[in-house]
Symmetry: C2
Subunit: 260 residues, 2 copies
DNA sequence: GGTAACGACG
DNA sequence: CGTCGTTACC
């Protein structure tokens, strides 16, 4: 099974690129982040015409996630609150979580808050959000131990996931508290699929639009696939496909594909 | 001599199309309207690299005209006021007029105000602007009887210049007062080059972006070449080149080329 | 429908 | 740098 994650930074702006990529890179599920469109504006037809089944969870201007599945998904759920019944419903105001089951595997697609800068209001929200994510996954694990979680985590777990031109010290996406919050989540039983196959630095999935970061390969590896043991054991590859980032008017992120 | 007029609706957005067109359609002078950029932002190099001499007169966001000449122009003048010394300088706040001499022929490039709707403040401005234009041309004619005036006139002089789906009655760009104001100007000795060669309707130079007007050929002929007798007599052709309007992300206007 | 400017966000 | 939302203009 092939699962791809791609923060497309607006599905409407990137539609042609996404459709082209998907045509040449068929996957079982394509997990999109930052679709940046309300559900009525999502280009469902483009994916249906390719034979895919889109499941969308969007909002105006910001955030927004989607699952583009080769076959109908089971038990699709949008947001945290449909899984965590007692959770404050404001946690679902930002559309950052969508999940569904394919061939017995639960796919969880996340757009983790960026956090703006260390110590900011948004940073605190990011940390709290990761705590909620932990509870959400605990709940999901109760009914299904086979989870493939992916998305834009907006966190580089290790220093080798970041180009060395960056002053990592207290940098957003690299601060200790963020990393620890993510590690706490992963301690539920998730392992990084990419690191099963590759121990090298210099592998990035995101390059800032500013300062010509891509041309200078000043990137970050912040888009991940995290797998629970039953899935991790059978994982065969995890590849960052840099090609889409080279196109005209690209997303700042590029797809990452895991096969298991 | 070949003179082209083209309202490009932003030279920065349309640069590639304009350069491609000019490469395949060399002219002596290309007259641009709605460049929509201040002079520091005008892509001079792109034209210079093609061997042309650009003369620009732009402003922020709106209006803006330019002469792109195959050879250096003489006696280039920007705006009304440099010709009409006693004119209120506010007439040059909107950049709509540029002129220069090539091979003894004065080229006048205009972006006539649109006028918004009949009876509006902007409509009155359009009528007053055309009166000033008349005085401007009178002054120019004193020193040179050979004038080739072109541009986006935002006026369809005859009903056959407008598709018949439009209710012409008091429509902006077709009202009696506008037509009369333009006719008063033309009475100084200008004749419509296009009508020397073509008496048919259905020939348009502008199609509204809205309502799929181009696909349905619901256009207007509002981009004109008006020639004084010495030039008009030797005119050999006047062609509307519809091709650029068929491209992706086109201007709403297409080039009109006169040869004399 | 498609320009541009501006401010917010990343 | 490059999204979006807004406003203004055509």
């Amino acid at each position: 099974m092939k699962i791809a994650t791609w923060n497309v930074n607006s599905i409407r702006t990137r539609l042609e690129q996404v459709i082209n990529w998907l045509s040449e890179n068929p996957v079982d599920v394509l997990c999109l982040q930052e679709t940046k469109v309300i559900d009525q504006g999502f280009p469902l037809n483009s994916f249906e015409n390719l034979g895919y089944h889109p499941y969308i969870y969007g909002q105006k201007a910001y955030n927004g996630v989607a699952l583009i599945s080769s076959q109908p998904l089971e038990d699709v759920s949008m947001g945290f609150c449909s899984v965590l019944k007692d959770l404050d419903p404001t946690w679902d105001e930002q559309k950052r979580v969508i999940s569904g089951v394919i061939d017995g595997v639960r796919i969880v697609n996340l757009y983790v808050p960026n956090g703006s800068s260390v110590g900011s209001e948004k940073y605190e929200y990011k940390l709290r959000w990761l705590k909620v994510l932990g509870k959400y996954l605990q709940q999901l694990l109760l009914s299904n131990p086979a989870i493939s979680m992916c998305g834009d985590f907006n966190i580089a777990l290790e220093d080798i996931d970041i180009n060395d031109k960056v002053k990592i010290e207290n940098h957003i996406m690299a601060s200790d508290a963020e990393r620890q919050a993510l590690k706490d989540v992963l301690d539920l039983g998730f392992a990084d699929a990419f690191r099963k196959f590759n121990q090298e630095g210099g592998n990035y999935s995101w390059w800032d639009y500013r300062t010509a970061a891509f041309k200078r390969n000043l990137g970050w590896r912040i888009d991940h696939h995290y797998l629970t043991p039953v899935i991790y054991e059978r994982a065969q590859s995890c590849i960052i496909d840099v090609a889409p980032r080279k196109l005209e008017k690209p997303s700042d992120h590029t797809p990452v594909v895991v096969e298991f």
